[in-house]
Amino acid sequence: MRVRVGPVQLLLCAIAIYSVFAGRLAPYPAIREHREFPFTPPMRLHWAGFAGVYYCGLQSAGAWRGFSEDCTRKWQLRFFEEGRLVQPAKEGPFFLLGSDELGRDQLSRLLEGGRVTLSAGVAASLLTILIGLAIGIVSGYRGGRLDDLLMALASLFLTCPWIYLLLGIRALLPLSLPSEQSYLLVLVVAASVGWPRTARLIRGVVRSAREREYVTVARSLGASEWRIFRVHLMPELRHVATAQFAVLAPQFVLAEVTLSFVGLGIGEPGVSWGTMLAGLRDVSILLPYAWMALPCIPIAAVFFAFQWVSRRMQYTE
């Protein structure tokens, strides 16, 4: 099986690169507050020919009454300075995608948050697949009572009410645990609980493969179990695992958003796409400050991109 490198994969790579280098790409640190500029709408860039790109100052109409552009004050946007791609002037802030309630730059938070959300999604998916592979292979290959026991365990895990389990686990964690650690721990737990579907799938593939004629022939010719596993089973499992990854990764990205929305994700001052969207529980924020919903766009893009990849894999099988 080959996965063609198309525009969506490129987009995913771009998002991943953005996330890895978020600190350099972001105009500000994600937690930097400009308390004089809460809920600033996305600002315009002005082109000044060879002089470069500049942006205007902001005029406040009063608390929560919005801002207007004040081009009597202009500042040039500088590039590749102080280790950052974009460097706004110190005299006046620049918010390409607007600011949040504490005057934090939405673009910087989006980039930094993407790093957390995507890495967590990928890490949790890989862990799920690893556990699923281990249990599925043992179960499918050994069969017998061990198979029955492991599959019964998988059924038991499938019936677990996840959200209550996570709520319980979070309540057991000490308060002083750094929020990133507690968040990762929750994701690890989520992945540990999410292994049954993958394990069942892997088990089915292993059981089917080990009954095939070419495996029987190999065994009759004296091939060792390890060789049979490595040469005849692994290639099939690799396809399944890759497809599983494409299915699980967006699910875990969404899981992060959901967990943060219900207050189980990364806490302040940490930032993720989920924590950025959590504030939208207050509908009165969404209506006047629509740019606060910006993380929805990369989340949807990631989700659809992974879905597209998994479909392409299905067709190219």
Binding site: I31, E33, R35, P38, G62, A63, W64, E101, L102, G103, A171, P174, L175, S176, P178, S179, G263, G267, E268, P269, G279, R281, D282, V283, S284, I285, L287, P288
Partner: protein, 580 residues
């Protein structure tokens, strides 16, 4: 001479606070449509503890002496006058004559005797019983005439007349049998028939539709009348709609389905304000009695991992430094859109009678805060982290209720302020019951951000917070003996002010309490949100107050103003649900 001057000044402040323009005469008729976040659970004043139930009950019943929500002073209600004995332990109340319950039955001293008997009966377990306990003894009421009662207290109690506010007088003729049979807790539910109920309030129960609304009718026997001797209330009906959330309230209000919105969050207020609707009046009644504070865990029974941090928390100068770093103005602006008042003392300025004016208000200063920390022995490493004397990084969490978005945002700002000092602070939003469990039982928390107040302006209802033995003395509750000298002094001052009947002396005592709290900083006062309400311009005499119930405290005086000349007509949008 100085003492006399202070008394005169206090009198002037008191008089200014007490001024209230009379209500204009209204026109009868119409329906008042009010929003409630949830529907009332009961109509029984003996068991009601939820806000929606109490709001409805206030419209159905009356008390002997009431607190005028606007002036914050007591005024006659069913007792037209009262006289205190010289020893401050007994009051003689003269009841109004010719008053009838909403079912037409006459009211007299026997109803008052019965009411207090029921409320103070341990077996009934009414939530008001604690309020009627003075010096561990319940108040005693005896009848000296058909319309005269004498109330006796076990010890002198300052502002004793305020304890009558909110004690709904019950109809003995309807409830005595149930009381004798021990059934009082089960009566007057929202499913009860209107005929089974009676009260002395401006309205009486008519109908309830589960999950939607409750309808009250005008009480034709109500005892109050306006300046033109017209019997109140003006409105024929009040419909209280359960809307679920504040967002729903605002949407329905903007759609013209509601006349009055009770207390609003600043965000909702701003959303309505942005619409600039000509038929809507928005009122910012100013600083409420609610105050948001941060405090540290000083419990001696705290878990070991918290106890190790109490060396920092227990140092007054550490708390003072952290107070200096708090951006109170920023909190008022960012969280409440400027509709809140920064606080340095624990009594908000909305409490016009009791707030001390001479509490120091040092401006926010990170350098000054760092200087204090340096003096105490803290230092910073190369990464800017704050280290204590032993070189341990200063790190702690602030717990906050996850259901209160405004308070969560306050915690976010406070944590960010403290990070500027090099402290690693994390905000941990917890479900409110889980939060209370940590505060009251496990004591497993470092710092907490909580809101207090909102009830009466008088200091006495907060005894439980400021006495070291109090269960709500959260930073170190239920102490057998005061843990610190300043807590011992607080105990003494609070106990003395509770029994001092001279207002000026009492004021001086409570002023010292405020100064101790501001100096020792057991709680770091942050902001007091304003009371924000909205109503249609067609609601006359709308005069919100900062005391609960903010918009409906003068419901009997509210009336429908119509521009078409059809006084008291119900507009189309005012049609009562389910009524032809």
């Amino acid at each position: 001479m100085t003492g006399r001057l202070v008394t005169v000044l206090l009198f002037c402040i008191f008089r200014t606070a007490a001024f209230q323009a009379p209500f204009e005469p209204g026109v009868p008729g119409g329906t008042l449509r009010v929003a409630q976040k949830a529907e009332p659970k009961t109509l029984n004043p003996l068991v009601a503890i939820d806000a929606p139930s109490r709001e409805v009950i206030r419209l159905l019943h009356a008390d002997l002496i009431t607190i005028n929500r606007y002036t914050q002073r007591t005024e006659p209600a069913l007792a037209e006058s009262w006289k205190a004995a010289k020893d401050g332990r007994s009051f003689t109340l003269a009841l109004r004559k010719g008053v009838h319950f909403s079912d037409g039955h006459p009211f007299d001293a026997d109803d008052v005797i019965f009411t207090f008997q029921v409320y103070t009966d341990k077996a009934v377990a009414a939530p008001q019983r604690d309020l009627l306990m003075v010096g561990e003894e319940p108040v005693r009421v005896r009848k000296t005439g058909s319309h005269t009662v004498v109330v006796t207290l076990s010890q002198p109690y300052a502002a004793a007349e305020r304890i009558f506010d909110g004690i709904a007088i019950l109809p003995r003729h309807l409830l005595e049998a149930d009381y004798r049979a021990g059934r009082l807790a089960k009566i007057w539910t929202v499913a009860s028939t209107p005929q089974s109920m009676a009260g002395l309030g401006p309205f009486r129960f008519r109908e309830h539709k589960a999950g939607e609304w409750i309808r009250l009718d005008r009480n034709p026997y109500y005892w109050k009348s306006d300046a033109n001797r017209r019997r109140l209330p003006y409105f024929d009906e009040v419909v209280l709609r359960a809307t679920g959330t504040e967002e729903n309230q605002v949407i329905r209000f903007l759609a013209g389905e509601l006349d009055v919105l009770g207390r609003l969050a600043a965000r909702s207020y701003a959303a309505i304000e942005q619409k600039a609707l000509p038929d809507v009046q928005l009122v910012d009644a100013g600083s409420s009695l609610e105050y948001n504070v941060a405090f540290f865990n000083l419990n001696t029974s705290a878990p070991a991992h918290v106890a190790s941090k109490q060396t920092w928390f227990g140092d007054k100068r550490f708390r003072q430094a952290l107070s200096l770093a708090a951006d109170r103005e920023g909190m008022a602006r960012l969280v409440y859109g400027g509709r809140a008042t920064p606080l340095w003392g624990h009594v908000p300025p909305g409490n016009r009678i009791w707030a001390a004016q001479d509490i120091a208000k040092p401006p926010r200063s990170i350098p000054a805060a760092k200087q204090i920390l340096t003096q105490v022995g803290f230092q910073w490493d190369s990464a800017g982290r704050l280290l204590d004397r032993a070189g341990t990084p200063v790190r702690f969490t602030i717990v906050v209720s996850s259901s209160n978005s405004e308070r969560s945002r306050l915690a976010t700002i406070l944590a960010s302020d403290w990070r500027e000092l090099g402290i690693d602070v994390q905000v941990v939003p917890l479900e409110f019951r889980a939060l209370l469990d940590r505060l009251m039982n496990s004591k497993d928390y470092d710092a907490c951000l909580l809101g207090f107040g909102g009830g009466d302006a008088d200091p006495n209802p907060e005894m439980n917070i400021w006495l070291s033995s109090g269960s709500m003395h959260f930073w170190n509750p239920q102490q057998k003996s005061p843990a610190t000298p300043w807590e011992a002094r607080l105990d003494e001052l609070m106990r003395r002010q509770m029994t001092t009947t001279d207002f000026a002396a009492r004021h001086a005592l409570f002023r010292e309490v405020q100064q101790i709290v501001a100096g020792e900083r057991p709680v770091i006062s942050l902001v007091s949100p304003n009371v924000l309400v909205a109503a249609r311009r067609s609601v006359g005499n709308f005069r919100p107050a900062i005391l609960d119930s903010y918009a409906l405290w003068n419901a009997e005086y509210l009336y429908r103003v119509t521009s078409t000349g059809g006084l008291g007509q119900i507009t189309k949008s005012a049609q009562v649900p389910g009524k032809r």
